[in-house]
């Protein structure tokens, strides 16, 4: 496929560091869009603030780079006004689950027809490596110089508990899976989340002696466990492993379908 067709070529090369996985995720997104044959005019990509949230600047869609954590809120308004737009939200672990955590769980609860792709690198990359809600206990960050005391979120489980219609997790190494999950998420008429584990060698890898991008992706290759296999493993065996797979895939009326019922009822009562 021709990635360049979807890129704003004059904005390249992108700002991401060497070995950063964000570009791998963007490629997956573009491959799926290409496969589905979506028109560029019919796509809106919305983001918050962070390295991951710089994605929209590089793609030739309707693109909206909002405030930190608020992409889902902006996208909710846009979707309501322009329901035929395919809205893709790209977000970081900090953007989506720290400052934007409230919007994330409420969009899942409402089942708004949006897809959120979360680039989870366990860290605030853009601002220089401060701890994020997914930084594991004990790992180092610029604001956790002695090791992080806070327990991390499991983003996929969080989305599942909040009521999302589709939730899956992959890694940048597992491009085949990533493509498949993103496609399923795009086709879901409800709130869909794909969490993709991605290396941040600059702000996380180095500080935690996990090496460069290659080393960190190699770790993903060796330490990922499919969700089915994970179910047969003990807590101990799962220590340090990345559980990948589809966590939720269910049909339920989405927000706009339910609002349509509100309109029908209101008209009936008020006629």
């Amino acid at each position: 496929m021709d990635y360049l067709y979807y890129l704003r070529e004059e904005k390249m090369p992108h700002i991401w560091c060497d070995g950063c996985g964000h570009g791998i995720i963007l490629k997956s997104i573009l491959r799926v869009i290409d496969k589905l044959g979506w028109e560029k005019d019919d796509i809106a990509m919305v983001s918050g603030i962070g390295c991951s949230s710089r994605t929209p600047g590089y793609v030739d869609f309707n693109t909206l780079h909002t405030t930190h954590g608020r992409a889902i809120a902006f996208a909710t308004g846009l979707k309501i006004v322009k329901p035929n737009l395919h809205i893709i939200i790209v977000s970081g672990d900090g953007d989506a689950t720290a400052i934007g955590g409230n919007h994330f769980i409420h969009a899942a609860r409402r089942n708004t027809d949006l897809t959120v792709i979360i680039y989870n690198n366990y860290i605030y990359g853009m601002t220089g490596g401060q701890a994020s809600p997914t930084t594991p206990i004990g790992k180092k960050a610029s604001t956790a110089p002695y090791g992080n005391p806070d327990a991390p979120f499991d983003i996929s489980r969080l989305a599942q508990a909040a009521g999302a219609a589709y939730v899956a997790r992959s890694t940048v190494y597992h491009v085949g899976k990533t493509d498949r999950y993103i496609e399923q998420a795009f086709l879901k008429r409800g709130f869909s989340v794909v969490e993709i584990m991605t290396p941040c060698p600059t702000s996380y890898g180095r500080r935690n002696k996990e090496g460069n991008g290659v080393d960190m992706i190699m770790f993903q290759k060796k330490n990922s466990v499919g969700i089915e296999r994970a179910q047969k493993m003990s807590e101990e065996e799962l220590q340090g492993k990345i559980i990948t797979g589809v966590f939720v895939d269910k049909e339920q009326n989405n927000y706009l379908q339910r609002y349509k019922e509100v309109i029908d009822k209101a008209k009936q009562i008020n006629q």
Binding site: M12, P13, G19, G21, G23, I217
Partner: protein, 72 residues
């Protein structure tokens, strides 16, 4: 003669992360002084993993049959 894939590396965009070098299942690349070198193109099986994993949109792999048809 064995038909081989056409591999191009856009050195303007490549950031020398070496992901292609380490993850190609056929070890087609060696790392050069600045950029990866397509050292063994004949070994390429056109799986496109390098293309998909290159975070910088720097690699294009054209499988042998398509590469051939373009040549003609």
């Amino acid at each position: 003669m064995k038909k081989i894939s056409k591999i191009t590396i856009n050195e303007k965009w490549c950031k020398s992360c070496e992901i292609c070098v380490y993850f190609c299942p056929k070890s087609v690349y060696d790392m050069g002084r600045f950029y990866p070198v397509i050292a063994r193109p004949e070994d390429c099986i056109a799986c496109k993993l390098c293309e998909k994993l290159c975070p910088d949109f720097a690699i294009t792999v054209t499988p042998p049959d398509i590469a051939e048809s373009i040549k003609k």
